[in-house]
Symmetry: C2
């Protein structure tokens, strides 16, 4: 019986700048008698990574420009928050109904460029996305390898909305130790016909699966997925970003 | 230790029109000593449902219209396939680079209106999406309830591409026995702040998770997800479709 398990890591403490997420993960795993293994995928929400990396902005320190001030007034927003979103953006994709869909400097397209005011410790502060989520994932992976000898893959996730569909799901924004996409090009299905849908974004599927464990109210920012044979390799989350030339919804 | 399990159901035979998918599921579960329970989520790929419901078109029976013929010629496509896609569409969302992104009559937005020529038994035939995937899901759920007394939730999935991102993932196109979206509006995070991302599309997350088990090459069109406390209720996949008024990427 083939089976994939999504195991929640309980007991990750409130994260502060400078904290060592890998150490927290190892401690939490150890407390629930879970030995991390090569082949595991450790899925971590962006929020705890951002906090550990000090990607926190106190809105009192932000001087909004004229554009941010005007827009904020029009839509009854906090101008300092709007300014922070603009600073994190490479490009505004849509700006309508008081919603800003931005392309971040990483090339991710999401609301508010990933700037988030939920689950922060201090009111009036917001978190930014990690500067280099692949690097963040690699760092956790290396530390776990050094401590245990096991080489799990690591995925950093964030929660985005989608065009056309209601509700949010988790996406992979950083990847280490695996390829984010499985390519079936040229392979044949059991009936002998060539596979047409060739590429599955398995890192996004793993991210979505992990969210079932994270929940939104619980303190479970880390899940371990076991039993899924991911494509090994030095992947990067950039592979999940569509080439603008081939994107019909820019 | 909280845990969600994604269990693959092996041994579902090649499905033909008129076949009883619920019976296949019960038999496959029984063979691997898996007793279906209330609280389980049975996730089924669209392809086997479509086949069982006879949603198969022999392209030889399709007379393409002028629009389909011209477009097919321009992009070196099969005009009969293009015609079939048009017939399944309520609206063309984008038509560029030889790709047709369509809104189906259910309101789903996807390439080729869900018309699929992979994994069919007979070359020159294609499958259409189920006419009413919620109804398909309900039917499986009822039959399983009648046979076992258990009332699992049922999700029907299909594989779609996404704007902005490479690779495909599985989405929920039919739902029975659960609400597809969990709403955290008004609830508070552990630090006491109100949750801002209020709605999680858990049916889509479950669909994505199940694909990790399905694979593309294996004959595992059904997965059982156990251990996830979904929101019970008479949900419909329509709840996952964004109101056009609020959609910035129509």
């Amino acid at each position: 019986m083939s089976e994939v398990r999504i195991i929640g890591l309980d007991g990750i403490p409130e994260v502060r700048p400078g904290d060592d997420i890998a150490a927290f993960i190892l401690e939490a795993a150890s407390k629930q008698d879970l030995t991390l293994e090569s082949g595991d995928i450790i899925v971590i929400t962006q929020k705890v990574i951002s906090k550990a990396e000090g990607r926190i902005v106190d809105l009192d320190d932000v001087e909004p420009g004229r554009f941010a001030t005007d827009y904020a007034e029009q839509w009854e927003k906090d101008a300092r928050l709007v300014e922070t979103v603009l600073r994190e953006s490479a490009r505004i994709v849509r700006m309508d109904h008081g919603v800003m869909i931005c392309e971040t400097k990483h090339g991710l397209i999401c609301a508010n460029a990933g700037v988030d005011s939920s689950n922060v410790e201090k009111l009036g502060t917001v978190t930014l996305l990690p500067e280099d989520p692949d690097e963040s994932a690699n760092e956790v992976r290396q530390k776990i390898e050094e401590a245990t000898g096991a080489s799990p893959a690591v995925i950093i996730t964030d929660t985005f909305g989608r065009p056309w569909r209601e509700g949010h799901v988790n996406f992979a924004i950083g990847v280490a130790g695996m390829l984010p996409i499985v390519d079936y090009a040229g392979e044949f299905d059991p009936a002998g016909y060539e596979i047409k849908v060739t590429q599955m974004a398995v890192a996004d599927e793993l991210a979505a699966a992990s969210e079932l464990m994270h929940g939104k109210l619980s303190r479970t920012p880390v899940a371990v997925i076991r039993g899924y044979e991911y494509p090994a390799g030095s992947g990067t989350a950039d592979e999940l970003l569509r080439d603008p030339e081939r994107d019909m919804f820019r």
